[in-house]
Amino acid sequence: MKFEELYDRYFSKVYNYVRYHVGLAAEADDVTGRIFEAALGKYGTYDAARGPVQAWLFTIARNAVIDWVRLRNRRKEVVLDDAGEREGAEPRLETVLERKEEADMLLEAAGELDERSKDLIALKFSSGMTNRDIAQLTGLGESNVGILIYRAVKKMQALVEVKRRV
């Protein structure tokens, strides 16, 4: 597979995965850019015998997001800025399309989850990987992944229903 094919096929999935973790679109762009740069740099290291290319790419993506989270935790002021912008962005959302509102609502609900559940939701719904692949990627048990995903979906559903009522 050529790199451009990889890019075209997986950009949306990787971006969506990153976006679940990174609230701001600009920062998600930055992290996504780093992921594809790293993927290009590690071009020759991929071994098909170890797993599908999607799992390889999402391993890189996951590491990039973990790095981003660590950096964010070191700089607390960034988190505060994010929170402020998110609240301030709500009036702007009233003016955009309903679809965009719904999408942002989903992201906000995901933002309420703990890091592990957020990661599982991001992996599952951005890549469409099976629970077995996710279990291999995260090091969790397959059944544990299933339960955590189910709980996270229920929690997000409840949060979104509350927001919709408001």
Binding site: M1, K2, F3, E4, L6, Y7, D8, F11, S12, Y15, N16, R19, A25, A26, A28, D29, T32, G33, F36, E37, L40, Y43, G44, Y46, D47, A48, A49, V53, E102, A103, L106, L107, I121, K124, F125, G128, T130, N131, S143, G146, I147, I149, Y150, R151, V153, K154, M156, Q157, V160
Partner: protein, 233 residues
């Protein structure tokens, strides 16, 4: 149905959502399944401001390289080529083949010089009839005239470019004042022989006649062909 069983069924049906791209019936909790389908269909990549610019930046630098394990080209030769780098034995065989190819010109060169055929590997030997002829030619004593064509010998200009004549003093005999070897007193006594000078066209010669031998010393201009053998390929 406990939470574990519910989660297991939910996840099993959820895989169907990804396959069909829409919500699937899930009696225990249809609302949760509908929400999961909404999550699965959500695409935030429209927010990205770098999608095209990043592609333009990365794709040209990726060149024509392809990911290992990508689409396998059709044809057995292409498949073999693709698998070569993974197999250790295949790598060694490839390296040996490359080395052999690199050494072929060297073997051929040494094969063509001096008829030293013994150094060439058997794969590069000439047929036996040709080999016998070459061996016979090498074993036969060579006359300078046979090796060095008359046409080439006459081309003294070529030799002159390499060898230059230097002016020489005339060779003359003169009486030896003190003989460097003293007689031991026994056996044949040492007798001084008188040299006879002979004038040559291009030098001089002194002939010394002793009791048992005649020794001739010459100092004359010589041509390169008298000392060296010139071979033509």
């Amino acid at each position: 149905m406990n939470e574990f069983e519910l989660a297991e069924r939910f996840n099993r049906e959820l895989d169907g959502v990804f396959l069909e791209g829409k919500s699937v019936p899930f009696a225990p909790d249809q609302a949760a399944m509908d929400f999961a389908a909404e999550l699965a269909s959500a695409d935030h990549s429209g927010d990205s401001a770098i999608r095209e610019s990043l592609r333009e930046w990365l794709v040209p630098s990726s060149g024509t390289a392809a990911l290992d394990g990508g689409a396998v080209p059709s044809g057995w030769f292409a498949k073999v080529l693709l698998r070569l780098p993974r197999n250790v034995y295949a790598r060694a065989a490839l390296a040996a083949a490359c080395l052999l190819l690199a050494l072929v010109p060297i073997f051929r060169r040494s094969d063509g010089q001096g008829g030293e055929r013994g150094h060439a590997p058997s794969a590069f030997r000439t047929p036996r009839s040709t080999e016998r002829a070459v061996v016979a030619a090498a074993a036969a004593p060579r006359k300078p005239s046979a090796v060095f064509p008359a046409g080439a010998r006459s081309e003294s200009s070529a030799g002159q470019r390499v060898f230059h004549s230097r002016p020489m003093a005339r060779l003359e005999s003169e009486p030896i004042r003190a003989f460097p070897i003293e007689s031991a007193g026994t056996g044949t006594p040492i007798v001084l022989a008188k040299g006879r000078e002979v004038r040559l066209e291009n030098g001089s010669r002194v002939v010394l006649e002793t009791e048992h031998a005649v020794i001739t010393l010459e100092r004359r201009v010589i041509s390169p062909e008298e000392l060296f053998e010139r071979r033509s390929l």
